[in-house]
Amino acid sequence: MHIMDGALSQEVIIIGSACAVAGLGWGLYKLGTDQHGLEKIPAAAVLSATFFVASLIHVPIGVSSVHLIMNGLAGLVLGAVAFPALFVGLLLQAVFFGFGGVTVLGINLMNIALPAVLVGMAFRPLILKASPKKAAFLGGVAGALAIALTTLCVALCLLLSGEAFFVAAQLVFVSHIPVMVIEGLVSAAALYLICKVKPELLQTVSHGKTVQTPLNNLGLKS
């Protein structure tokens, strides 16, 4: 899943890094301006650590193996704050395990965090209104979708760097189908638990004072 140093052309790396800096800035800005930003930090730390460790859980496929990512859950719970949270996880993975690399940190962050944030935006309003069982189902779909989008982003990066898109996309997508299934199940279980035990974890701004609207569910200021 992680793209390595030297695999991509320079233009792709520069554009990816610029986007990643923008995403990081956006995430930190949201965290700073959010009324309950302080309470988001422990959740962000836990999800960052989850992402960091999930990469060590391997799903064997033939002679090769792929690992879990858990970006969908981060996007659902954290919204834009997933950018800084996943950035920390990625940086430490590069330093400790040699996954990816420092020069491609930006690209990897975009590939992993952008689908997370998009999935979070699309599914969080639906999940907030749903019953726990339905929320679990939606969470599962969101978790699987985040992986699917990530594989497409990776394939797109490879395409822009000169590799044949269809071959690369097929390879990355097909090899991650088991990951999608497992992450879907894990995300569904997590969402079920969150809805039962601590539903306020999913809400960004509203905490009684602010009125719950679809707008601030999206993490936008109303």
């Binding site: 460790v53 996954f99 497992i182 894990v186």
Partner: protein, 226 residues
């Protein structure tokens, strides 16, 4: 009722995790590429593979000089090994593209290349003594390149026996063959992620977020006070 349901889900998930973890997964990672090159008498030998032990079969390895000029190429065999015969006395940079974003970059220093070239020269001058005159002079100007007989030193420092170059080559080949599996094991060991690294990483994460928490809380307190 609901509690038991969520409990059941938790048990189910942990069973899945246990199942995944119990599968015979190689300890390292498929998406990390390892590659290395080493001298092997008159040629260079190299190995390209994935860090979980998978070899990279039939992969093109391109060789460049430090200026980025391509000076040759090689192909890996069924075991991920390749050989390359250097001709230029410069640092060699190797690049292998394994597809899907997997790139291996590795190099061999000029000193090692010079040693290999000296061996080549020695054996070619042995093979054709007619053209040996000029080469002999060259060798004399670069005495460190000559494969002089190796003197085995006894404890007191006196030379005891001289090993002829042929035997030296045989010894080197034998030692190389013997340490090859060892080298693989060391590479695999280097790739291993132990619990220390994992716990250390988690510690860093919590520490970093704790710092962020502290800074944000301090800001809030300041805002409250003023």
């Amino acid at each position: 009722m609901y509690l038991t349901f969520s409990l059941r889900i938790m048990v189910f998930i942990s069973l899945i995790f246990a199942f995944i973890l119990s599968l015979p997964v190689p300890s390292a990672f498929a998406h990390k590429v390892i590659a290395s090159a080493f001298t092997s008498g008159e040629i260079l030998e190299g190995e390209v593979g994935f860090s979980n032990g998978d070899v990279a079969q039939d992969i093109l390895v391109e060789v460049f000089d430090p200026d980025g000029e391509k000076i040759g190429e090689a192909r890996t065999d069924a075991e991920g090994f390749f050989t390359f015969r250097p001709t230029l006395p410069v640092k060699h940079l190797f690049k292998a593209d394994l597809g899907a974003g997997h790139i291996a970059n590795f190099s061999m220093s000029k000193d090692d290349i010079l040693r290999v070239l000296a061996k080549q020269q020695a054996s070619s001058s042995k093979a054709s003594p007619v053209q040996g005159h000029s080469e002999a002079r060259e060798e004399a100007s670069a005495p460190e390149n000559r494969p002089a007989p190796v003197h085995v030193l006894a404890r007191d420092g006196r030379a005891q026996a001289a090993i002829p170059p042929e035997l030296q080559d045989m010894l080197e080949t034998a030692v190389r063959n013997e340490i090859r599996p060892l080298r693989r094991e060391i590479t695999a060991y280097k790739e291993k992620n132990d619990l220390q690294a994992i716990l250390g990483g988690i510690g860093y994460i919590f520490g970093l977020f704790g710092l962020g928490f502290y800074l944000m809380a301090r800001q809030k307190m300041k805002a409250l006070r003023s």
